[in-house]
Amino acid sequence: MSLPLTSQVFLEVEDLALSYGKSAFGLAGASFSARKGEVIALLGPSGCGKTTLLNLIAGFLVPDHGSIRVAGRSLRGVPPHRRDMAMVFQNYALFPHLSVEKNVAFGLEAHQVPRQEREPRIADALAMVGLSDSRTRYPRQLSGGQQQRVALARAMVVRPSILLLDEPLSNLDTLLRKSMREEIRQILDRTGITAVLVTHDQEEALVVADRILLMSNGKIEQIGTPEEIYERPRTEFGARFMAVENIMAGSVCSGDTAGTTVNTAIGQFKCTPCDVVTGANIKIAVRPERMHIVAATSGSQSYENRVTGRVVRSTYHGTYRRLLIAVHGMELIVHAPVSSDDSEYSGDVQLTWRPADTHVLLQ
């Protein structure tokens, strides 16, 4: 699953494992690599091993086997304080007895940065997160969002070779979380730093990362760009986790490089091409917002895959309307655009979606 080694590879993790019991959650042989400046997200539900993997990279945990290399140098036996990394913690972990500037200065002192160099770097770091005015305040005097910024400044000021972020936004309000993730993305872009982000939030991973490692049960399920992870989930777990809510069991009818045809309980559908033998039992997945409603009576634009159903429930979500549609005893979820006339989303409707949006999942 690791990328081919190129001259650009900076962080290499190979077959890293820690058995359950040594950490709260185990990890079974994870391998991946990151290029210099790349932002990697470790994405998965709680207990999937993503935080364990981060703590292994940081050196807080010692692996049973496997290796971590940064710029070709193995980190075996290297304690955290010699790894030249920095970390933003979930609860920020700001030093409560130190002021904001002392918090930021901590890493510079620990790295024995010359005294005259410290002041401008502290000023830069605080300016970067917009907290130049709060230098002398203490963490308890700051809001959650401000504490988050201090934690980021404290980590960035040491100019680490790798920045680790452990659910950095999970303690913030929805609105603040959305704006902070944009900000973090910009700061990472601007500084060109290599970063590893742990998150359980799909959108956070999509927005912040260059590449996503989707994890489950201590294993890496899929590695890919945000687009790949979102658009082309490979496993049922991946599909469910990325909110592909319509998953149907079926058997392969026929298949070639142009596409696969699958028989399901509610009809025959064209899917993306895949190497599955005819007759194999598989599952196919379609994202709710990729299913489109055509009022049963009208003759408007429709795609190759089509079924007829009945709207059972409709909930308003602002940007879209979430419809539960009964199709021959199966229930499909459709996210339909909010229109001024919602009456078209009731009674009998026709559903249609593209073969390109119909993914065959690995068992």
């Binding site: 972990a93 030093f95 404290r154």
Partner: protein, 269 residues
Amino acid sequence: MQRYVDKLISGYVALLTVAMVLPTVVVLIASLTPREYLAFPPGGLSFRWYGAVFESGVWMSALWVSIRIATLVTIAALLLGIPAALALRAAKSRISATLQAVFLSPLMIPSILIGLGLLRFFDEMHVRPSVATVAIGHTLLATPYVIRYVLAGLAGVDPALERAAGILGAGKWRTFSKVTFPLMRHGIVAGALFSFIISLDDVNIALFLSDIRVVPFSVKLMSHVEQNADPLGAAVASVLVLIALAVLFVCDRIAGIDWMFGIKGSRHE
């Protein structure tokens, strides 16, 4: 209804407060009597008996012995207790719970027994009573308190803070001195305070481990009040309280005493 309950509680709390401080106040006032015998009400106001204490070479040398012992005990208890507390914190929780029970067991053991046991032990070893023997006895008594308070102090130090220091480049020693220690300071100060005062106030152990050449203040006080009912004993007891208050004041300057009395958390939470 709620107001009535509130008043009842206030009244109760006031009464309990009076009961708690009553003996101390009685002795403090009685010690100020100008008379020859212990009187309450004192029937006058005089520092005559304090003068008698401070002018007496015997009492002052006893006080000096006590202060030397208490200082030794404080240092020894901290040196023993702090690493033990750090080890207990690092240990797996099951082992730690067992060891905590062992370390804190002296709280459950009659101090007479500790005195008696050490007396036998020193006799076997042919060690003669001295400031050191009393200090060793008191250290056994004080160390559990230090462990207890330091552990309580450490409980307020989030391990994530130490990880944060580590990944920011701080080694074990820098992490301890710049992060762990400042945040657990209250616990150490509270442990030191209690060690000092326990040593100052103890009679039971000192009685066994001292002899006629080494008489701590509180032992001399005990034997004095067993034989005399004069106000000198009250004055001596009051001096003990004043020393305790002085130590408390110093500790407050260093770390804030509100923390010591427990429960309501440190200022850094």
